[in-house]
């Protein structure tokens, strides 16, 4: 059981963890084959970070077991640390030091010799397009560059299994795309990757398999296509500019849809699954809205996204967070951010 290199890179069985009354994980099972990307998808507070912290030996589980690269994360923690890399939600780099110094420091802490640390740092700076900035303190870097440096730091020890906890949270759209390219190239090199995200498009784009976590439980697992199949057919979506008419719009299309319509009060976007009825549903929808006298914009039929999957599975949108009992919408702030940076 010590060095089972044929088994899955990550194997998790019945993992539980509570913080006082909060049940962060309520029995999670995962199996990640070597050389693949698992996308762990869920809203804030779903338990994603807790799972990553247990798998990277930062936190002890209450129950269940977890093997990384064939080693038990509790009983063989030092061995696990030798096969993993971790890049967290914020850039864990020393801002006063240069990019090169940061990477060489990590190399030294992996007990590479000084020349080895130096050559590994040079290699990573090259790979992550940081050569020009290598001699500058990291605090002068853009957010995207800091995250790249952080990711580079997690690769210094050539991990078999890499954990990326929300690697693109807070990045502008262009840096995000750059990060995606980098992540894809890592897996081509054979690394196994567990990636948590609250962005559905990110999981869709990168992951071979996706598990959806909500309130500490895996509520769905499969490929992006399989999960989209769960929604069952197309989605009719439109925006209601006059928010006061939102409920009228929902009532009007409720008859057309196969499932309960979902309305976002902030953005005025209404979506409803229409099954396989495609264009018939489109026509019916237009008629119903017209009859109700509701003005709409951008009415269209589209293929389901993982957003719809999340909605269908949990009854709430992926980016609605529940904090201290208060519902906060991060969707709007995310849009604003996108607008501001584009």
């Amino acid at each position: 059981m010590s060095q089972d290199s044929s088994g899955p890179a990550i194997l998790v069985e019945g993992l539980t963890k509570s913080f006082g009354d909060v049940h962060a994980l309520r029995g999670i099972d995962l199996a990640v084959p070597r050389g693949t990307i698992l996308g762990v998808l869920g809203p804030n507070g779903a338990g994603k970070t807790t799972a990553v912290r247990i798998l990277t030996t930062l936190l002890l589980p209450d129950g269940g077991r977890a093997l990384v690269d064939g080693r038990d994360v509790v009983r063989q923690a030092p061995a696990v640390r030798r096969s993993i890399g971790l890049s967290g939600q914020s850039a864990a780099i020393q801002e006063e030091l240069t990019g090169r110094e940061n990477l060489e420091l990590i190399g030294r802490l992996y007990h590479l010799s000084r020349p080895e640390s130096r050559s590994r740092a040079a290699q990573l700076l090259e790979q992550f397009d940081l050569v020009d900035a290598a001699g500058r303190p990291a605090k002068t870097y853009s957010g995207g560059m800091q995250r790249r440096l952080d990711l580079a730091a997690s690769l210094v020890g050539r991990p078999q299994v890499l954990f990326l906890d929300e690697p693109t949270t807070g990045l502008d759209p262009r840096s995000r795309l750059g990060m995606w390219d980098i992540i894809r190239s890592l897996v081509e090199g054979g690394t196994t990757l567990l990636l948590t995200t609250q962005y559905l498009d990110e999981a869709d784009e990168l992951a071979d398999e996706i598990v959806v976590i909500d309130h500490g439980l895996v509520i769905a697992a499969g490929t992006a296509e399989e999960l989209k199949g769960r929604v069952g057919g197309d989605v009719l979506e439109f925006t209601v500019p006059d928010r006061n008419r939102l409920s009228d719009a929902v009532t009007a299309v409720a008859m057309v849809g196969e499932s309960e319509p979902h309305a976002d009060k902030e953005t005025g976007v209404v979506s409803v699954g229409v099954g396989g009825r495609g264009s018939d549903a489109l026509v019916d929808g237009v008629r119903a809205l017209d009859a109700a006298g509701v003005q709409t914009r951008g009415l269209a039929l589209r293929r389901p996204s993982l957003d719809d999957v999340f909605l269908a599975l949990t009854g709430h949108a992926a980016e609605e967070e529940e904090l201290n009992g208060k519902r906060r919408r991060s969707r709007r702030s995310k849009r604003d951010e996108t607008k501001a940076t584009s």
Binding site: G88, A91, A92, E116, Q160
Partner: protein, 272 residues
């Protein structure tokens, strides 16, 4: 798949006890060096650790000094051990703030997920802070000499005074390491440091003879560790009875280490 990625640089093999203790030392040194490098690069840190104590020396020597009468001695000789002790204690702010920052930014998480000695984050921090403290103390002694301070008791007691100041500062850094990791927020940590360090250093024999304080305050000032340590340092620097204060200082310092080493280690292990 896995064979294709066989690393060209391989990590050292599974460590034995000897390798582990060697790593504990080398990891400590690597992190201490990093901490000193960061310290040297941030002007604010330099101001706080070098310029501020020098300003204290000049201010107490020339502004308040004239109004403070020391029975049978020179105020500057009385003052310097006090300033040095206070500076050593205040070095702990940097310890607490740095650890709280590292915790918040995830640096400690990264280090804990690596196959390095887990103790090194703490030992590397304390080693760097001790080195930094020593540099500050030597600068203050030099400035003291420029404004009239002299060691009157010989070289060895003078060296012992510096050693005692450093050990005292280290003990306060240890308390700060615990609070920094336990509180984990740099502003709160800083505020908390002020709340206990200011009174305990100023309500002591550091700057004025305790006999000049009101009686109720004397009761506190005469019986607290900073006074014991500074009286011992003063006796080492300029002579005078040492015995009673020395033993009380050693007892206090030992007590702090016994209590706060395990507390700091536990806070580090639990840090999240």
């Amino acid at each position: 798949m896995t064979t294709a990625t066989a690393p060209t640089i391989s990590l050292p093999d599974e460590p034995g006890l000897l390798a582990r203790s060697r790593w504990a030392v080398s990891d400590t040194l690597v992190l201490a060096r990093r901490n000193l490098l960061v310290w040297a690069r941030v002007p604010a840190y330099l101001v706080f650790t070098v310029i501020q104590p020098v300003m204290f020396v000049l201010m107490f020597r020339y502004v308040f000094g004239g109004a403070i009468k020391i029975p049978g001695g020179d105020y500057v000789d009385f003052l310097m051990p006090g300033i040095i002790g206070q500076t050593a204690a205040f070095a702990s702010f940097a310890t607490a703030i740095a650890l709280a920052q590292e915790l918040k930014k995830g640096v400690i998480d990264r280090l804990r997920s690596m196959p390095m000695a887990r103790s090194a984050v703490l030992t590397g921090r304390l080693l760097a802070d001790t080195g930094r403290m020593l540099v500050t103390i030597l600068i203050i002694v030099a400035v003291g000499y420029a404004v009239g301070f002299r060691f009157h008791n010989g070289v060895i007691p003078a060296i012992l005074m510096v050693v005692l100041a450093t050990v005292f500062g280290l003990s306060i850094c240890l308390i700060a390491a615990f609070t920094g990791l336990a509180i984990g927020d740099e502003e709160s940590v800083q505020a908390f440091g002020l709340i206990w360090l200011f009174p305990i250093t100023f309500l002591s024999s550091a700057f004025v003879p305790i006999s000049s304080m009101p009686g109720w305050l004397q009761a506190f000032a005469n019986n607290q560790p900073v006074t014991y340590v500074i009286n011992t340092m003063r006796a080492l620097a300029i002579g005078g009875p040492i015995e009673a204060n020395l033993w009380k200082s050693i007892a206090w310092l030992a007590g702090i280490f016994i209590v706060f080493v395990p507390l700091a280690v536990r806070a580090y292990k639990r840090a999240s």
